[in-house]
């Protein structure tokens, strides 16, 4: 008996995490040599939805499954194709959208799979450039090297957020036996009508609970408690020097990103295991919607980035700065 096509829902976004994750799970577990994906009813896919779609499709490839996309040549299908969502899967019987891809480097940024830290640095830079836009023609950079102009300042904030999230995904995700199998994805987009920047970083690593198990600030052995702990300052699995020649981590990155989002009138979603949290509330995922690893989605108002200074958002605590020698 033929299997019905898997219909993507109307919205695959960070604002509907339960449905988006359930869709990912159905896709990743789809059976058959050729999986049929119907995208005709889908109206909006944000970067969070794209990272999960990308991982779901790649998992089909792991089992040598191909995909037939119904509606690839229509609006949403064409958009997903333009964003490279189907780059990692073999498409069959899927007519491609007509015409050439427009270069919209000033607003769109394709789905990227990250294989290492050097690549992550370059991707963070290119994403920031795409989200903030290229420098206006004829405007030279300020001669004073001590102060970034507005363009560089906004790019710097975006790069800061992406670097911290990607760094976490690449380092923590590869612990506890996940080094050879963890994957890291990122996508980003700027929406001019709302002046919103949305970006997402998702890994398929060990997840926050495995990373923080045994940490004194982990209040319970649950994924929900692990997210709460991870968002607190100085919570890290490797804050101290250990026996291994490992990098140490202050446990500040996620906290600072959280503060940046808050100050920019934004929202941040963190998903791990069977739980999720966002700036305003959180909850549990259904059994068929769990995420192995950590998936983070961030939304910020681009205009609000102008007034942000990251050093003001670092969680200082009671520590007294020592005298440093500056020249």
């Amino acid at each position: 008996m033929p299997v019905s096509p898997l219909r993507l829902p109307k919205f695959l976004t960070a604002r509907s995490p339960v449905e988006t994750l359930a869709t990912y799970r159905r896709l990743a577990e789809a059976e058959g040599d050729i999986v049929e994906l119907d995208v005709r009813g889908t109206e909006f896919v944000d970067p969070f939805g794209m990272t999960l779609l990308g991982e779901g499709l790649l998992q089909l490839t792991d089992f040598e499954q191909s995909v037939r996309v119904i509606g690839l040549d229509q609006q949403t299908g064409a958009y997903l194709h333009r964003m490279d969502v189907f780059d990692h899967v073999e498409l069959v019987d899927s007519p491609l959208p007509p015409g050439r891809r427009r270069d919209r480097r000033d607003a769109l940024s394709e789905l990227k799979r990250i294989d290492g830290e050097e690549e992550a640095e370059a991707v963070a830079s290119s994403l920031a450039e795409a989200l903030i836009g290229t420098r206006a023609q004829g405007r030279p950079p300020k001669q004073d090297s001590m102060h970034a102009d507005e363009h560089e300042h906004q790019m710097g904030i975006i790069q800061y957020v992406l670097s911290e999230l990607l760094s976490n995904a690449l380092s923590h995700a590869q612990r506890h036996g996940f080094r050879s199998r963890a994957r890291v994805w990122t996508a980003a987009q700027y929406y001019p009508s709302s002046d919103k920047v949305r970006l997402a970083v998702a890994d398929t690593g060990c997840g926050l609970l495995a990373t923080l198990r045994g940490h004194p600030l982990l209040e319970a052995e649950t994924h929900f408690a692990a997210i709460s702990a991870a968002l607190q300052p100085r919570v890290s699995c490797n804050r101290n020097l250990g026996v291994r020649a490992d990098t140490v981590n202050q446990g500040i990155g996620l906290t600072t990103v959280h503060r940046i989002i808050d100050r920019s009138s934004g929202d941040m979603l963190v998903v791990t295991g069977d739980a999720y949290q966002r700036q305003r509330g959180g909850g549990m995922l259904r059994d068929n919607a769990a995420w192995q690893g950590v998936a983070t989605a961030v939304e910020m108002r681009r205009e609000a980035l102008r007034s942000l200074r990251v050093p003001e958002l670092l969680p200082l605590g009671d520590a007294v700065p020592p005298e440093l020698r500056f020249e």
């Binding site: 790069q159 101290n240 202050q250 050093p311 005298e323």
Partner: protein, 107 residues
Amino acid sequence: MNPTPERQLVPLQHAAERHFFGMRHAAVPERERIEGFLSEGFEVVIDFAGAAVTQSFVDELVGRLILEQGPGVLQRLVFKNCTDDTRAILRFVAADRLDQYLKNNTH
């Protein structure tokens, strides 16, 4: 009178191209150069000209030195051409790791 120790300059790689140093791993080779010069008795001048940095990068570059060698290492480091933001991040990392070092090494 003790002679002034000689200095070695460590310009952050690609700094002239206005590079953003976000990822931890980028700091590891620079920190290893600094450690090498320190072990030979030099003062080290870290030149941040043209560089924007994250707290993670600075922590891997300098914070780890404080954890391993204690606060005295800061007397042998000079931070050059830092923006206001870079100075603030350096102060934050130094304060946090010094606090941690003292707690770990105080009986």
